[in-house]
Symmetry: C2
Subunit: 331 residues, 2 copies
């Protein structure tokens, strides 16, 4: 790449800021803009806001239109919302401005089953603009979908797939500890659950990518979230969890064909959860077991988003998913 790829960072929260720092550090990429709606960030130098410890010479734009008008760019790295209704207008606006997009929006990672009409709309806008849009991340995007699918390449037959991801939240950011319910009472947790605000986003998308790629019909999908309770006092820099209170959550998604259960995805994120790690078990010919250590969620999401830029730039226009791109590596 002789010319640097010019990147606008859309969303400057913790993940977006980390992505932006990586864009600044990566040879071949140039950060040319940043957007956030937080009034405390708008107008500040992007370098200061993302924690570079120095200025970049351009300010955080308060809306997309301003950012897109303010800098010529090739790619938007999009890290705002997980939810289709919230991010869709943003994605459309960026595509219409003529930029490729790498997004960490969970519901964009494989939207063809849960949001088929809206996905088709985005695909049409992208094709009409001649641009490419990808949703990626560690989960969804890698550990529970594209990696297990890649492993099936060495199988003659696959009868079932089980993936378990364990995250020891004691080692993670305060907002992450909060998100999984740390310090809540069981009643609080259940109330928040009932309001649909508890649990990891993206398990259906991972399940959909796997079923669709293997040519299986998802006859039934179940998803349950339950609190993980402290048995003794658990302290972190951010929380003090008394026995009986919540120290995290366990979420299990189950996918069935018309012949029965084919896939489970288990997401366990809790304080003092022990060793972080992922386990992928494929039952078939042969049986495979793969254990991963070190797939830190924040670093991995930042990495895969930035690493995806190369493939998205090369890809044909449209809405693509991780299973459509050639091998994605660091570069």
């Amino acid at each position: 790449m002789l010319n640097k790829t010019r990147v606008i960072q859309v969303g400057l929260g913790p993940i977006g800021s980390a992505v932006a720092r990586q864009v600044v550090e990566r040879a071949g990429l140039e950060l040319v803009g940043g957007v956030d709606i937080d009034p405390a960030k708008v107008g500040q130098d992007v370098g200061q806001v993302i924690g570079l410890g120095g200025s970049l010479g351009f300010a955080v734009a308060g809306n997309l239109g301003q950012a897109l008008a303010g800098a010529e760019a090739d790619v938007a790295l999009h890290t705002t919302s997980s939810y289709f209704d919230l991010f869709k207008p943003q994605i459309v606006e960026i595509l219409e401005a003529g930029l490729d997009i790498v997004s960490t929006a969970e519901e964009l990672s494989f939207p063809w089953l849960a949001h088929p009409e809206q996905a088709a709309e985005i695909d049409a806008v992208a094709k009409s603009a001649g641009k490419t849009v990808l949703g990626t991340g560690i989960n969804p995007g890698f550990v529970m979908d594209s990696l297990p699918l890649s492993l099936t390449a060495i199988c003659l037959q696959v009868d079932r797939i089980d993936v378990t991801r364990v995250i020891n939240a004691s080692l993670r950011r305060g907002p992450f500890q909060a998100k999984i319910g740390s310090g809540m009472t069981v009643d609080d947790f259940n109330a928040k659950m009932a309001a649909g605000r508890m649990g990891h986003v993206g398990l259906p998308e991972s399940m959909h990518m796997v079923f669709h790629t293997l040519g299986k019909k998802l006859a039934r999908y179940e998803d349950s979230v339950e609190p993980v309770l402290a048995e003794r006092l658990v302290k972190t820099d951010h929380f003090e969890v008394k026995p009986g209170q919540v120290r995290g959550l366990k979420q299990v998604a189950r996918g069935y064909t018309d012949k029965g259960e084919f896939m489970t995805l288990t997401f366990l994120a809790a304080l003092e959860a022990g060793d972080d790690g992922d386990t992928i078990q494929i039952g078939g010919v042969p049986n495979l077991e793969v254990k991963l250590k070190g797939t830190n969620g924040d670093i991995a999401t930042v990495a895969i988003a930035v690493n995806a830029i190369r493939r998205v730039r090369e890809a044909a226009p449209g809405l693509v998913t991780m299973r459509d791109l050639p091998l994605l590596s660091v570069w």
Copy 2:
């Protein structure tokens, strides 16, 4: 796929026969021809030769020309030789007959560094014929190259990669036990080594794919093979290895950039080698460790070759490698 993809099996040794059986079993594929040079197989029914336990109604052809003339086909599955000089004329002949090719030839898996001119010739023939050719397998093709590369997708930075593959040859075919030196004296082993006939083929190709994809220059490549000796009597169905005799081999390849060692590939195949398994360690940000169990060499090679057919049929014409194709899965 409404119409079945018609496959000619080129090479009917143990792997080729297993591939052919899988083609027969797989919906969407149809075996329409088989070739081998073994006079004991030529003229026999292909179904009998591959061990189907029944007839297919067509005979093993004794040469490629006869097989290509004898059946209309879409794809050749090629499992004859590991070595470029031997397989190249076959690949050219098949491409010119208008078939796509999936080959398990190790030296074809990433030939751009070791055989650049011959690779370019094959690429030109493929493009001129409008057909696609891929070299794949478990190793090279997966465990030591495309899988580690895929794992770097979640890394911000990669400082080194180490892959170790352990194969307990006690669980494998007799010819495999022979190939790794089982029952030889150390002198025999070393003499065969000196003649260039000992050791696994394909480590350079794996190394090349990784370096090339990560944009690194391979400044130096080293490869050593040493015998693994029996400490006590080791018996299999095929061999009786006395203490001090050879029960297998250990091969280590090292790849260096101009800054030092970047990658090691360790291939240990021996009788009573303990648990089969592969370990991929990536040093960088973050550090990753991935352990695989169950990547049985024969089954995995058969599977990845047959599974690759779908992607090869969809791919643009030319010589492609595992890192160029979209996600490859069972189907």
